[in-house]
């Protein structure tokens, strides 16, 4: 069928071809992500050859498989693999959060960040770092605080929607308002904080992958998998939401329940990542837009492809952050925003009319 000219195809063949192209894009992205992750494992400040890097990884799984120094194995296990795996998982998670939020709120600018997840996490971390207010001490305290406060905006939306029906726009505005409140509080605390602590808060807010550990992935991985499965199961109903709430209701979809479930899942997933990495910007906004160009708006294809594009973007940004001023490691959150901003503008004003679904 693929050898035929598009003009010779019947409509049924064109539909099959369209869906096949989407599947091929997803498989291709899977290969790209795996290749980028493998390549990223070979990069770092320590002078380790690519062959030794892979041998070190294999030795970590099967001790004494190769004649490699313990130092190499430790670097691969404790530094590079957590970083690379977290870059892929965090990129995929942030992108999925963005894709779900944009679809359920029917707004291409809506992301868990717009709903206040990042501002909440920033405020939680600020409380722990500057004021020492947290359930437990140290890094765990910061992570716990960030997670709890990042879920506050969505909790406010859930409580408010129990008293009155909230439109998608009202939900977004509610999140924006809460973001401002958290942002202002954060600024006030920093105003009175000591220099070292303020610097820590700023570093945390930018978002980076320097401090991630393998145990972080034991939280991010399961949440990411669960949200992916739930998202795929809800995909058809999320698609129908795009045609308007009335149409969705007439097709038997419980609009309020789907919207609220999607909101909770996307914010939970984003909060789980953000509490470990800080706020890494633009992935959640950009990945669904890029994916839409290749696979359209059907959530059954958009969700996996957004996840893979997100993983790909963060892996590239992470490599850039490590290599641009090596051996200095730049915060990856700054790289994603610096590269993501122009990329998004290019996409928005691209000559392929309406390719992102946003009217300009």
């Amino acid at each position: 069928m693929f050898s035929k000219d598009i003009g010779d195809l019947t409509e049924r063949e064109k539909v099959v071809r369209l869906f096949a192209r989407r599947v091929i894009f997803i498989i291709a992205m899977l290969v790209v992500v795996a290749s980028l992750a493998a390549f990223s494992m070979t990069l770092g400040a320590a002078k380790i050859s690519a062959a030794d890097a892979y041998k070190g990884l294999i030795n970590a799984l099967f001790p004494d498989a190769f004649d490699i120094t313990d130092r190499t194995v430790r670097i691969m296990v404790n530094l590079r693999s957590p970083r690379v795996l977290m870059a892929a998982a965090a990129g995929a998670s942030l992108a999925m959060g963005g894709a779900i939020t944009q679809a359920i709120l029917k707004n291409s600018l809506a992301t868990p960040y717009t709903l206040g997840v990042s501002a909440g996490a920033g405020f939680g971390a600020c409380l722990a770092i500057l004021m020492g207010v947290s359930i437990t001490a140290g890094t765990i305290g910061i992570i716990t605080n960030a997670f709890i406060f990042s879920m506050i905006p969505v909790a406010v939306v859930i409580v408010a929607s129990r008293f009155r029906t909230m439109s998608p726009m009202a939900m977004i505005l509610c999140g924006v308002a809460i973001s401002y409140i958290f942002g202002a509080s954060n600024t006030l605390f920093q105003y009175f904080g000591d220099d070292a602590s303020v610097k820590s808060v700023v570093f945390w807010t930018v978002g980076d992958l320097n401090n991630v550990s393998l145990w972080n992935l034991s939280y991010v991985g399961p949440v990411m998998t669960a949200v992916f499965i739930a998202g795929m199961l809800m995909a058809k109903r999320i698609n129908v939401l795009g045609m308007g709430d009335d149409t969705a209701k007439s097709l038997g979809v419980n609009v309020e329940r789907i919207r609220m479930t999607g909101l909770i899942l996307s914010c939970l997933l984003t909060a789980t990542v953000v509490c470990f990495t800080g706020t890494i910007g633009f992935i959640c906004l950009l990945s669904p837009q890029i994916s839409k160009v290749f696979v359209g708006s059907d959530m059954r294809y958009l969700l996996p492809s957004s996840a893979l594009v997100g993983a790909c973007l963060l892996l590239i940004a992470d490599m850039g952050s490590r290599m641009l001023m090596s051996p200095v490691m730049l915060p990856v959150g700054a790289i994603t925003a610096l590269v993501g901003g122009p990329a998004f503008i290019m996409l928005l004003f691209s000559r392929r009319k309406n390719m992102t679904g946003i009217r300009v």
């Binding site: 409509e11 064109k14 199961l233 109903r237 009335d246 007439s250 038997g252 359209g296 309406n354």
Partner: protein, 276 residues
Amino acid sequence: MSPFGNIRDRGAGTVEKKRGICVDLDVNGIHFSYGGSPILKGVSLKVGAGEIMGVLGPNGSGKTTFIKCINRILTPSQGEVLLDSRDASDISSGELAKMIGYVPQNASYDYTAPNVYEVVMMGRCPHSMGWQSSKADDDAVWTCLEKLDVDHLATKDFSKLSSGQSQRVLIARALAQEASVLLLDEPTSNLDVKYQLEVMDTVKGLAESEGNIVCAILHDMDTAMRYCDKVVMLENGEITAAGPTVEVLTPENIERTYGVKAAVEFIHGRCRVMIL
């Protein structure tokens, strides 16, 4: 007593039920209020299989609210909607979606536009909510696309269709639901004369061949005269006239409801409504 008490059997019994579940739509005394102000004040109607019911009335008379109350997009404060004597409020939303198809006034999409095949596939949602569509769903979608003569548009962006094409696609989606009741909210608004006739011919054809019950909000009284078996006229949420089309669309009723003078003449083999 319902205004249709003496006329409901005129068309209902004459069309054989070909598929689907519902052969009788019976709406009794529907009341609905928005924020305390009443929109519908005891509206009733009865429609049988194969009949087209036109819902007419000036802007703000409650036509769209009435249609939305029938398929429970809005919940009426009083009254009941019976589908083959079953109260719609006792039917789950999923099951109701298999019985009633809704074609909204505006073929709007709030997010990125899907293609025509995907839009019609959405009509299969009540039948398969899982993530994957089955071969049966695919066959049903193609059948509906072909029935509405939009199969050649399957891979086109829904946003790039003409108004007439998008109306036909939305009707195809409602058919993909396998619904026996079709609720159409101004299916001919924004369409030129050719597309108006095309869409209404399609609707008429479905009612005749498939036995669908059709409730259509219409603004053009001549279109109603041409296609509807029955008509209900609403004003300020109340029925001002109801019954067989030729009996309801009289110059007196039109003037009372719309405040305009009209004439009904028998020209070229059928009654025509002309606004004077």
